[in-house]
Structures are given as C-alpha cells and as structure tokens.
Amino acid sequence: MKRATAYRLGFIAAAVTALEVLCRAGVIKPLTMPAPSVILGDLVVILGSGKMNGAMAKTLANVAIAIVLSVSAGVVAGAAIHRWRALRDGLEPLFATYYAIPVYAFYPLFIVLFGLGDVPQILIGFMLAVVAVIVNTLNGLDRVPRVLAKTARIYRMGPAEAAFKVTLPYAAPYIFTGVKLAVAYAFIGVVGAEFIMSRTGLGYEINFAFNNFDNAVMYPLILLILAIATALNMSLHAWEIRLLRRRERG
C-alpha cells in the first residue's frame, strides 16, 4: 500500500472512530446522531428488508438517464460547437458563467411544465451535467494535433467520420474528465431534486425520514448514498487509469 493511501484510510478510520467514541460517550445525543456502528447495522437491516429497493432503483435509473443524455448530448454539442467558430465565440462566456447559476431555481418551473414525475429530476441532473461534458469535449478537441486532422483527410473522411474515428478518440481522456464530472453532477441534481419535491427516490426517503425524526432510516440512507457515489467514482477512476496507461509512456 502506498503511503498516501495509508494516510487517507487512516484519516477516515480516525474520523469514524472519533464519531463512534463521541456517540457512545453520550457527547453526541442518540436523537442527533446514532453511532456509526449502529447506522451500519440499520443499513444492513434496511437493505435486507428490501423496502428501499424501489427508491434505490428509481434514483439510480434517473441518474443513469441523466448521465447518458448529458454525455451523448454534451459530446455531440461539443463537437458541433468546436467546428463552428462563431457559435463557439458566442457561447463560451456563457459556459464560463454557467455554474454560477443555481439550476434548482428552475425546479418549480419544471414541475409546472412536466408534472411531479421523473422528468423534472432528470432535467435538473442533465442541466447540471451537460455543460461539464461540453466544456471538456471542447478542451479535448482543442488539443488534437493538426497532423491528425490532416491524416483524417488523407483517408478521405467526411467531418462526422473524422470526428468519431479520429478527433473524438484522441480527445477521449479529456472527455472522460467531463464524464466523471457529469456522473457526480447528475447524482447531485437528481438526489437534490428528490429532496425538494418528489414522490419517491433516495432523496425523498431521506427527507421523509427527517420529517418523522426517523434516525434509524435517515442516517443509513445517507450512508448508502455516500457509498454509492464513492463506489461509482472509484470505478470510473479505475477505468480511466486503465485507459490512460496505454496512452502514456510505458
């Protein structure tokens, strides 16, 4: 194990142990927060009972839809904007300020427009995620060496074929950075929207438990969301390293 990894794990273990001690000693009241070991036990019970399966499936499905939509739309839009200089000059300042906008401000509007179903939540996730993909696609395409673009022409490729077979594959590591952000943003968008107003999903269930002082459900679900987000991020990271390994000097 590398020293940095050891420090990281040690830090997390120390924080969890400290929480455990504080809870067991009564410094943190059980009504405020149960001990981490209790939360974990409750989570096992909840997962075993299967009563949250529907909420989990709903959240994960909506997050997945938001990811797929934002990545595909983001890459295509990025490639198109990259080709069209005037459009890019017009849009780029908007991208730069985009994340200053609290997208959730539009959520009531989306509910009015699309009703209290999945669409407003997916839309929030999509809106948070798509611009990260566009910006990183543009960044990646900017780095394609001129000689590769010329090579595509030597093989007599049209613009679309050159994009899919040469320039986008070259830009893939940069686009991947956008995808990682998109996954995180889609998660934040969907779960956050569930918190505010929805009829199901993990965010809804946490909010419901909160309103009912049900710590035995609320904390395990928070832990579950943490675990899912961390696992997702770590597997993406592992995939990225595998992709990059062959492209970097061996």
């Binding site: 000689v147 090579t151 594959p169 492209r247």
Partner: protein, 268 residues
C-alpha cells in the same frame, strides 16, 4: 517520357490576409512533372513553400492558380485515391495499438480480414515492428512511431507516396537507416515518391531527381539528376559523385537561404 503521373502547370498558392496586413504569396508559379515510379526530392530554404507544394499535390489544399493532375485527373482540394502521405509530425493514433494503427486505412477500405492481416503482417515485418505489434505508440521511440506511420501508409498500397520531412525529428544515424528502408520500399512497391526535405545529403542519397526551390514565393530553380542505379543504399554517401551532387545543390541554395535570412545575396 510517357504520360507523367503527376503534373503541375502554373501552380501558385496565395494565402489570404491572415491579420498580418497582406496576403502571402507562398508558392509558384511551379511547373513540374513526376514520372511513374520515380523518386523525386524537393529541397529549399525554410519557409519556401515546400510543405505547401506537398499539400497541394495531396489535395489537402487548393491551388490559387494553375492546374494539378494525378494520373490525368485534376486534383482540386480533395485527396485522390491512391495517394499516401507521411508527415514530419508524429501522426500515430495514440489510442490504437501498432497493428491497429497500421490496419486503420484497410478497415475503412472494407478489405477482407485475411488479406488485411496479411498486409499488416507484411508491413510489420518490413518495418521491423513485429515484436511491437501489440504495443501502443507511447511505448515506442520517435523513429519507431514514424515507421508505424510509414507502414500505415504503405498497407493501402498507394501509387504516389508524399513524404513531408518524415525523418526531420530523427537523429542522423536513424535517418540514414530509415533512408535505406525507404529505398527498399520504393523498389519493392514501384510507387512514385515525392520527398520534401531540408537535408541536402538526404535528397542526394535517396532521389533520382532533386528539385531545388527558391526562397518565398517558392519556385523550382533547378532540377538535379543524380543518375544513381535503382539498386542503392546509404553507402553511396561515400561515392565521389555524392559530394558533387550536394555541392551543386548547395550552390543553388546558398543565395536563396541567405535571402530568407534577410541578407543580400553576394555576387556569384
């Protein structure tokens, strides 16, 4: 001479004003004929439009005036079938293995799988890359990456191969050896080769004929015939006439090179 494979008549290239205040007359007028199967090199001072000339013949850009034909058909801003190009810069696809890089053009051409495998295997052997078939470009040296690019061009069996300073980034010894390999390929494939280079010795060693270009706007000042036998390799650098050829090239080029440095040419 029979019908030339490549023919240029009154070709000029003028670049529109790019913000420097004036349009740039980069090339021409150039008249040039390349016979089928010959090895033609172009030398000239830096910035004289050598690469522009290559891009025009490749169809990567269009001539401002004049006509270019390849096998009798006009070339106008589109790459004709049967033309392969190797650039000075590393043009390997970093996400593909060496063999997938080489097979890139074949897959597009819809070649049968076993024929494609045969050609890739042959190119790997010819370029000394057999042990690296599954390696990725990042794991190779600059010279090996350039060989991958040459192999990728060869497998499509082009009838005209355009080389834009392909060995420019390599050290001198590697360049001489790559020159040998290039001569062997040229003999084996029977393709016409146009080599752009700034190295006079490289041109003198490899080519049947060498076109000497003027400072910008580049025109062909002189064409030097080397009269080497078809069977030749880098050992001809020891031949007495090798010095004569490079001497003649330098004599034509010296004044032009001084011009590009902004110095007045001394009286000959």
């Amino acid at each position: 001479m029979s019908e030339p494979q490549v023919s240029l008549r009154g070709v000029t290239r003028i670049f529109a004003d790019t913000g420097l205040g004036a349009e740039v007359h980069a090339l021409g007028p150039v008249d040039l004929d390349l016979a089928k199967g010959e090895f033609f090199a172009v030398v000239g001072p830096s910035g004289c439009g050598k690469s522009t000339l290559l891009e025009l013949i490749a169809g990567l850009s269009a001539a401002t005036q004049g006509t270019i034909t390849f096998e009798g058909k006009p070339v106008a801003g589109e790459v004709p079938d049967g033309v392969g190009v190797v650039f000075q810069e590393d043009a390997c696809f970093p996400w593909l293995s060496v063999e997938d890089n080489i097979a890139f053009g074949l897959r597009r051409a819809g070649l049968a799988a076993d024929e494609s495998r045969r050609r890739v295997g042959h190119a790997l052997k010819l370029m000394g890359l057999v042990d690296f078939a599954r390696a990725y470009p990042a794991q190779l040296s600059g010279g090996m990456r350039q060989r991958v690019c040459i192999a990728r061009t060869l497998v499509t069996e082009p009838r005209l191969i355009l080389l834009d300073e392909p060995f420019g980034a390599l050290d001198q010894q590697t360049r001489l050896l790559m020159g040998d390999e290039l001569l062997r390929l040229w003999r084996d494939t029977g393709a016409t080769i146009l080599l752009i280079t700034h190295a006079l010795d490289e041109a003198a060693m490899l080519a049947d004929r060498i076109g000497v270009m003027s400072a910008r706007p580049g025109r062909i000042l002189d064409i030097v015939e080397t009269r080497w036998p078809r069977e030749r390799d880098s050992r001809i650098v020891a031949d007495p006439s090798f010095g004569e050829i490079t001497g003649r090239l330098w004599k034509s080029l010296r004044q032009e090179s001084l011009k590009t440095l902004g110095k007045a040419a001394p009286a000959p």
